[in-house]
């Protein structure tokens, strides 16, 4: 309660100051912080569409997951930083956390800072309704990227996502097109319950259940870790079971699995004993494909920034934008693909 009173008082003071300053410097060059805030202040009060800041830049608050999380996230963060620059007409602030609460707190801070757009890659799916309503009241437009949340569609402009199930389906379809007489699959999963794991496992599980000549030799989670993947495949090899497909749900785990294969003298790659499938399209993984050591790599597109940029400048045509994602076959991949799609 005390906090609320404090907040009200301080915002009133700020507002008074802002109006006072605009009176002094109306028409002048907006240099002080208070004056640059002034147009927003009025915009927020009337809940009109967000106006540009005094210097013509669009203020965006970007809430992302920790860039250290994975190569995907690193590429995603770099893409964001490269797109939302002053040259492109943006004033961007970044916040990173893997914790939902921290992200929500950061969103509240960005709302107080009166950004024009809030770009969110949520760590968790729930708990966002309150803060999104606040944003809506303040006239701030919200665009979700990479992750969806459980909130009413009215609360955000658009959501730009990857369809993990489709990624899995593409890989499984490619695998089916190889027309093996028998599929004995070692399936290495990501962190259980993550959207990438659910989507990529789902497609394979359905196919294995449907086809008589598809079987799972081993299904185990390596939690995105190459060493754990290596240990799991090693355990399968030591147990004397045979397999001809490694379906790893990211590149790093595929790499660990291949390290175990190399140790045991099991050949892998194009035209060899074991087919290796990875996901995420790391540059080094695509190079393995180019060298014929792996067979397939499914893309998980981290480059949402251009989609967001387009929506901010031209408006959203649909609520959910599913990004185009490719799958690369070792027999058809080119050096250009590696350069263009490697992350």
């Amino acid at each position: 309660m005390k906090k609320l009173v404090k907040m009200l008082v301080s915002s009133a003071v700020v507002a008074a100051m802002a109006f006072g300053m605009t009176a002094c410097t109306s028409g002048g060059n907006p240099t002080t912080q208070a004056t640059t805030k002034a147009p927003d202040e009025t915009a927020a009060a009337t809940t009109a569409a967000p106006a540009d800041t005094g210097d013509g830049l669009i203020k965006v608050g970007i809430i992302n997951n920790d860039p250290n999380e994975s190569g995907y996230r690193t590429a995603n963060d770099r893409d964001m930083k490269a797109t939302f620059t002053e040259e492109n007409g943006y004033e961007a602030s970044f916040f990173y956390s893997l914790k939902n609460e921290d992200q929500i707190a950061a969103a509240q801070k960005f709302i107080q800072d009166e950004v024009d757009y809030l770009l969110i890659s949520a760590a968790g799916t729930s708990g966002w309704d309150g803060v999104l309503e606040q944003a809506q009241k303040a006239g701030i437009k919200v665009i979700l990227f990479d992750r969806t949340i459980d909130a009413s569609e009215d609360l955000y402009e658009a959501s730009i996502v990857s369809d993990m199930a489709k990624e899995g389906q593409q890989a499984v379809d490619w695998l089916a097109s190889q027309n093996l007489s028998e599929y004995k699959i070692v399936h290495i999963q990501g962190v259980m319950g993550s959207s990438a794991q659910i989507g990529r496992s789902g497609a394979l599980d359905t196919k294995v259940a449907a086809e008589a000549n598809w079987s799972i030799v081993k299904q185990q989670t390596a939690e995105w870790s190459e060493e754990t993947a290596q240990q799991i495949v090693q355990a399968v090899i030591d147990s004397g079971e045979t397999f001809n497909v490694i379906y790893a749900e990211n590149d790093n785990m595929a790499k660990g699995a291949v390290a175990a294969l190399d140790k045991a003298n099991i050949s892998h790659g194009v035209g060899k004993d074991v087919i290796v499938i990875g996901f995420d399209c790391n540059t080094w993984a695509l190079e393995e494909l180019l060298a014929g050591n792996w067979n397939y790599d499914g893309q998980c597109n981290p480059f949402q920034a251009s989609y967001i940029d387009n929506i901010i400048k031209n408006g959203a045509s649909q609520k959910v934008v599913i990004m185009e994602e490719k799958g690369f076959d070792a027999t058809t991949i080119t050096a250009d693909d590696v350069a263009n799609y490697g992350i």
Binding site: K218, E223, S225, Q230
Partner: protein
Amino acid sequence: MTTDTKVQSKGSAGEFFGKIIRNQLFIPIVALTLLVIFNLISDPGFFKIALEPSSTGNLILSGNLITIIDNASELVILAIGMTLVTSASGGQDISVGATIAIAGSTVLRIVKGYAPDIPGSQFAGMIIVSFLLCVVVSALFGAFNGALVAFFKIQPMVATLILFTAGRSIAAWINNNDNISINDKRFGYFGNFIPGIPVPTPVFITIFCIIVIALVLKFTNLRLYSQSVGINASSSRLNGINPKMIKLLTFVILGVCVAVCGFIKVSRTSSITYSVIANNIEMDAILAVALGGNNLGGGKFNLTSSVLGAYVIQFLTTTLYKFKEIDSSSISAYKAVVVILLIIISSPFVRKLIEDFKNKREAAKAEAAVGKEKA
């Protein structure tokens, strides 16, 4: 007269048995035996070892046992350092997983800068430099932890919480968050096989570490000093030992162990994932110390049993990976159940129960024997 000697000999046999039970090595050895028996029953071919050519054309040993000994390497090396830290500081370092990420990242920072086909001597020089740098960096981070514990008297778990939280970000920052993959095959020798040698390299590294620490404990006062600091820091200070320096030293030693682990880890796959490399290894290392029957509150320690404890944990992990029936999401739960059982069996309470039971039986038998003699 004859009965008398019989009673006596029985008594000494019982004593012998009691001694075994009281021995710290008892629990890890029993756990190992149980795992061995369990695996033999479920798969008689479990311990089959084969000598086969690898993809590089060299003969290598393969089989479950080799895999376990190979994969346990990092854990064993960590358990050595963790035991010393536990002994001197009465607490555990929970940042080892994160500092392994830092150590591995440091190695890759040097190695990634070189072309994959540099000549052998240059390559050896680069590896030595990168390893030494990684040892220095890890020792410094160890010293940081140690300083917080020794000089600022912060609880070890709280002090190491700092690096536990920040370590992986630091590791990523060292390499500018790049997703690195080293193409030079030679870099993988340290985590896999050196051509022509059929035993995995990490096994040699582990043996080397064990020999070094055994020599250190034999020829220096490290054991005596760290134990006395762990039992009573102020009285050891009165006896001329500097408890602060000893605590700091154990953390630095752990730092060096971490450096070795980090080096092996990145060599295994020639790559690094900052957020998951050596994930949760700190818990396994602490568990190895606990399974070894060492007091986690500090003081006396037994390195051999910690090392055995580490092998038990890896044995368990590999056994669980082997079972098809075990669902991915429940593997940790299975591990936890086994660990709980082991810890309970090794707890002082259960040990005392077993001993009491034995003593009672001995007493009853002795009484019966005496009664017989009288009759």
